[in-house]
C-alpha cells in the first residue's frame, strides 16, 4: 500500500469551471460595458465636432458652449472608465489568483504529498465560501473570506464599488492579523489565507441576492434590467425568463383591473414573444382581462396564484444566472462531500460501536453518518487491513496476526502489548488472553 498514488490533475480541474468562469464573465461584462460606452461617447464627439466644423447642428450658433458641453462629457467618460477599469483590474486579479491556485496542482504529483494536503485545505475553504454565498449567508461568507468582521460585515447590500474597496483593503488586513509573521529567512506558510478574498464572488452573489429580493418584493424591474444586460447569452440559453417576467407584470396589471394599461403593456411587451412559441401563453394571458382575480376557473386561477408564480420566477432567475456562469445546480461542497463519503464508506461504518473509527468521517453519528445513509459503499478490488489497535495499515513489514478465535491485529501492536504483559496478548474485542506463539500469520492477498 506504500506505493504513491498518482493525482489526476485534469480530472480535478475539469470540475472547477465556475471557479474560473464567474470572474471571467464579470471581467468580460465590465470590459464590454467600457467598450460600448467609449465607442458611443467618442463617436458622438467625433460627429459633434465634425458638425461644428461644417457649421451644422444645434451647437453651430455657439461653438464655445458646444465645446464646453463636450469637454464635460469627456470628463464624465473618463471618470466612468476609471471606475470600470478598476473593476476590470479587480476581476483580473481574482482570475490571476485562481488560475495560479489551480496551476499549483500541476506541480503536485501524488495524493500523499504534503503540498496536496495544503492545497486541499485551501480548496475546502473556498468550497465552504462558495456554499455560504450560494445559500445567501453573505455576512458569514465575508467573515470567512476576510478572516475579520471589523469592516463591511454589517452592510448586507454593499455596492460593487464598496466591495472592491473592501477586498482591496482586506489583503493588508489579513497580513496584519497574522499572529506570528514568518522571519524573512524562513519558508512562507503554505496556507495563504489572504488569498481567500480573491476566491470569493461576493459581488456576483450580492447582485444575485438583490435581484432575488426584488422578486420577493414582487418587482420585476431589476430582473428585467439583468435580462437586458445578458440578452445575447440568455437567447443562446433559450431562456424564457424575460417572457415570464413580462407576463408577470401583465398579470399584476390584470389583477388590479387596470385593463387599458394592461392592453397597452401587452401590445408593447408581449406581442414580441409570439414568434418564440409563446402564442398560447399570450392568448391565455389576454383572456385574463375577462376573468377577475377571484375566479375559480382554470387555468386563470393558477395564473393569478401570486406566491407560486413569484417563487418560480426567483428560482428561474437563479437557475439562469447559474447557467450563464457555469455554476452547477449542486454546490461543490455537497457534490464533493457525497463523493468523499461514498469513497470512504465501508460496511463497518456506523455499525457496532467497536467497528467505528474515531478518524473516519462516515462514523461521526448524527451528522456525517446520516448524510452517508443513501450513499453507496466504496468499491475495493484489493483487501486493506487496518489494525484495530494502532490504526496502522498492515503490510509485509507489519503483517496481520490472527488469534485462535479469528481476530486480526498487526504484528507490531501484538508484540508491543505482549512486551508489556509478560508475553501475553489480550484481544480487545473478545477479552480472551493468548500467548503470542498461539497467533497465526495471515497472508496478505
Amino acid at each position: 500500500m506504500a506505493e504513491k498514488i498518482k493525482l489526476s490533475v485534469d480530472g480535478i480541474l475539469a470540475l472547477e469551471s465556475s471557479f474560473i468562469k464567474v470572474p471571467y464573465e464579470q471581467l468580460k461584462k465590465a470590459n464590454r460595458k467600457a467598450q460600448k460606452f467609449t465607442e458611443k461617447e467618442l463617436s458622438n464627439l467625433a460627429s459633434g465636432v465634425a458638425d461644428l466644423a461644417k457649421g451644422k447642428g444645434s451647437g453651430a450658433k455657439d461653438p464655445v458652449k458646444a465645446l464646453d458641453a463636450m469637454i464635460e462629457r469627456m470628463n464624465k467618460l473618463k471618470r466612468k472608465l476609471d471606475e470600470l477599469k478598476a473593476e476590470e483590474t479587480m476581476y483580473a486579479g481574482k482570475l490571476a489568483a485562481r488560475l495560479s491556485h489551480l496551476q499549483d496542482l500541476a506541480h503536485i504529483r501524488t495524493l500523499t504529498a504534503p503540498e496536496f494536503a495544503a492545497w486541499a485545505h485551501l480548496r475546502l475553504q473556498r468550497v465552504l465560501l462558495d456554499y455560504l454565498m450560494r445559500q445567501g449567508f453573505l455576512t458569514s461568507a465575508k467573515l470567512l473570506a476576510t478572516g475579520s468582521s471589523s469592516h463591511s460585515a454589517s452592510d448586507a447590500s454593499g455596492s460593487v464599488m464598496n466591495l472592491a474597496a473592501a477586498s482591496a483593503a482586506a489583503e493588508p488586513m489579513a497580513v496584519d492579523t497574522d499572529p506570528t509573521p514568518a522571519p524573512a529567512s524562513q519558508v512562507p506558510a503554505p496556507h495563504p489565507v489572504a488569498g481567500l478574498v480573491q476566491f470569493a464572488d461576493l459581488e456576483f452573489f450580492t447582485h444575485q441576492r438583490r435581484i432575488e429580493r426584488a422578486l420577493e418584493r414582487h418587482s420585476c424591474t431589476e430582473a428585467l434590467a439583468w435580462c437586458h444586460d445578458n440578452k445575447v447569452a440568455l437567447k443562446k440559453l433559450k431562456s424564457h425568463l424575460e417572457f415570464n417576467l413580462r407576463l408577470q407584470e401583465f398579470i399584476e396589471l390584470a389583477r388590479t383591473r387596470q385593463l387599458v394599461p394592461a392592453l397597452e403593456y401587452a401590445k408593447t411587451h408581449l406581442v414580441a414573444f409570439a414568434d418564440l412559441g409563446h402564442t398560447r401563453a399570450i392568448q391565455q394571458a389576454m383572456a385574463l382581462m375577462a376573468f377577475p382575480p377571484t375566479t375559480t376557473c382554470e387555468p386563470y386561477r393558477t395564473l393569478y396564484d401570486s406566491d407560486r408564480r413569484w417563487t418560480a420566477l426567483a428560482a428561474q432567475f437563479r437557475a439562469d444566472n447559474f447557467a450563464l456562469h457555469c455554476l452547477p445546480p449542486l454546490s461543490a461542497l455537497e457534490a464533493t462531500l457525497q463523493a468523499g463519503l461514498a469513497a470512504l464508506k465501508t460496511a463497518q461504518c456506523g455499525g457496532k460501536h467497536e467497528d467505528r473509527s474515531i478518524n473516519c468521517p462516515v462514523c461521526v453519528p448524527d451528522t456525517f453518518a446520516v448524510l452517508a445513509e443513501k450513499l453507496p459503499l466504496g468499491h475495493h478490488v484489493n483487501s486493506c487491513y487496518v489494525c484495530r489497535i494502532s490504526g496502522e495499515i498492515m503490510d509485509e513489514d507489519n503483517p496481520p496476526l490472527v488469534t485462535p478465535e479469528g481476530y486480526v491485529y498487526s504484528r507490531k501492536a501484538v508484540h508491543e502489548m505482549a512486551a508489556k504483559n509478560n508475553g501475553f496478548f489480550r484481544c480487545p474485542r473478545t477479552h480472551s488472553i493468548f500467548k503470542v506463539a498461539q497467533m497465526k500469520k495471515m497472508f496478505l492477498t
Binding site: I71, V127, G340, A343
Partner: protein, 389 residues
C-alpha cells in the same frame, strides 16, 4: 492550464497598457478640446480663422478618438482570446451523480459547517453563521480547539515555542500514549538552530547548549541523539555526507514541517479522543479526488443507460491514501467480492484467506478436500477459520 496562462498573461500586460493609454488618450483629447475652446472664445480671431480652427479640431479629434478606439478593441480581443482558451479547458461541469442522497438534509450540512468552524477555532465565524443560517443551537465552543489551532498556526510559521511549551505541560499524558512528540519538537528546534547558525561559532554554541539542556532529558532516544550531535560538525557545509545533509535539511523541509504539524495534531487530538483532522476536511479531501472519478463513471453509465446509484457499491475504485483508510476491507482474491457478514472472509490453515462463498464453491459445499488456490496445501472446508478484521 498551459494554454490559458500565456493568453491571460498577454491580457494582463495589455490591460496595464490599456489603462494608461486610454487615460492619457482622453487627457489629450480633453486638452485639445480645451485649447480649441479657448481659441474660439478669444475675441481677436476673425470668422475665417475660427472656421479653420474648427476644421483642424475635427481632424485632430477624429485621429485621437480612433486611436483610443483601437486600444479599446485591442483589449477586448485579447480578453476574447483568453475566453476561448478558458472555454476549451473548462466546459460546463455537472456535479450531480446522486441527486437524492442529501435530499432534505440541508440542516445537517449547516450543522457540520458550524461544527467545522468551531473545530478550526473560528468562534466568531461560527456564531455569525449560527445566527445567519438559523441553526437552532450554537455548536459548543471548545477552547481546546482554539489552543490547537493557535499552536498549529505557529508551527506553520516555523515557530516551535508554543508547541514545545504545550508538550512540556502534557509530558505525563504524552508518555502514557508512547508519544515521541516532545523529543521530536526539541529535535526540530535544534536543527533549526543549527541551520540558523551556519558555520558561525556563536550560533553553533547556542545549538549545542540547547541540545545539552533538552536532549539529556531523553536517554531512551540516545540512538537518534548521536547523529544529531554529529550533524553539528557539518552545519553550513555543503559538502557534508548525504546522511547529515538530509538531517540538516529537515530544518527547512516542507515535508518535515508538515509531518511535525500532523504529529502534533494527532497527539493533541489523541489526548482528547478525537481524530487529528477535522472530519469535514478528510471527507472533502477524499472527495476532491473521488468526484472526478465518479463523475466520469456516471457519464459512461448514463450513456449506456445503466442505473447504478441504486446498487449498494460504487462501480469503480477510488484510490485512497493510506491515511484515509480507516476500516479494514476484505476483497476475496477468488471472486473479487467484498466480504460481508453473510459472506465473511475465511482463513485456510495455510494462512491464505478467501470468502465463504468461494470456499463453498471450491470445496463443493464441504464435500471434498481441495487445494488452496494460492499454494499447494490441501485442506477441507471445516478447517477454515472465520476471521474478523
Amino acid at each position: 492550464m498551459d494554454a490559458i496562462a500565456p493568453e491571460f498573461d498577454k491580457f494582463v500586460a495589455r490591460h496595464h497598457a490599456y489603462v494608461d493609454e486610454t487615460s492619457a488618450g482622453l487627457d489629450g483629447l480633453i486638452a485639445t478640446l480645451r485649447a480649441a475652446r479657448d481659441q474660439l472664445a478669444g475675441t481677436d480671431q476673425d470668422a475665417g480663422a475660427k472656421k479653420a480652427a474648427l476644421a483642424m479640431l475635427s481632424l485632430d479629434v477624429k485621429g485621437q478618438t480612433s486611436k483610443i478606439m483601437d486600444t479599446t478593441k485591442d483589449i477586448s480581443s485579447a480578453l476574447a482570446k483568453c475566453g476561448k482558451a478558458i472555454d476549451k479547458k473548462f466546459g460546463t461541469a455537472d456535479l450531480e451523480w446522486n441527486p437524492q442522497a442529501f435530499e432534505g438534509k440541508d440542516h445537517l450540512i449547516r450543522q457540520l459547517i458550524g461544527e467545522h468552524f468551531i473545530r478550526e477555532g473560528k468562534f466568531e465565524l461560527a456564531s455569525t453563521f449560527q445566527k445567519e443560517s438559523g441553526l437552532s443551537a450554537a455548536p459548543a465552543k471548545n477552547s481546546q480547539f482554539q489552543e490547537l489551532n493557535d499552536i498549529i498556526e505557529s508551527i506553520r510559521h516555523h515557530d516551535l515555542g508554543p508547541a514545545i511549551e504545550w508538550a512540556e505541560s502534557k509530558r505525563f499524558e504524552l508518555n502514557r500514549i508512547d508519544s515521541t512528540l516532545q523529543f521530536d519538537l526539541h529535535k526540530q528546534r535544534y536543527l533549526q538552530l543549527l541551520a540558523d547558525a551556519g558555520p558561525r561559532s556563536p550560533g553553533l554554541m547556542a545549538a549545542i547548549e540547547y541540545a545539552r539542556k533538552y536532549f539529556s532529558q531523553f536517554p531512551a532516544c540516545i540512538r537518534e541523539i548521536q547523529p544529531l550531535m554529529l550533524a553539528a560538525i557539518y552545519a553550513g557545509q555543503p559538502t557534508a555526507p548525504a546522511t547529515y545533509r538530509t538531517l540538516l535539511a529537515r530544518a527547512t523541509s516542507p515535508t518535515a514541517w508538515s509531518n511535525l504539524e500532523r504529529q502534533f495534531a494527532r497527539d493533541f487530538c489523541s489526548l482528547l479522543g478525537l481524530s487529528p483532522d477535522a472530519p469535514l476536511y478528510t471527507a472533502i479531501t477524499v472527495g476532491t479526488t473521488a468526484l472526478p472519478i465518479i463523475m466520469k463513471m456516471s457519464t459512461i453509465m448514463k450513456e449506456k443507460r445503466n442505473e447504478w446509484t441504486a446498487s449498494n457499491e460504487l462501480p469503480v475504485e477510488v484510490p485512497l491514501a493510506p491515511r484515509h483508510q480507516f476500516h479494514s476491507v476484505f476483497a476475496c482474491p477468488v471472486s473479487r467480492e467484498q466480504g460481508t457478514d453473510l459472506n465473511p472472509p475465511m482463513m485456510l490453515p495455510c494462512g491464505h484467506t478467501i470468502c465463504n462463498e468461494s470456499l463453498k464453491r471450491i470445496s463443493k459445499n464441504g464435500s471434498i478436500r481441495f487445494k488452496c488456490p494460492y499454494c499447494p496445501q490441501d485442506t477441507t472446508m471445516a478447517q477454515a477459520l472465520r476471521v474478523y478484521l
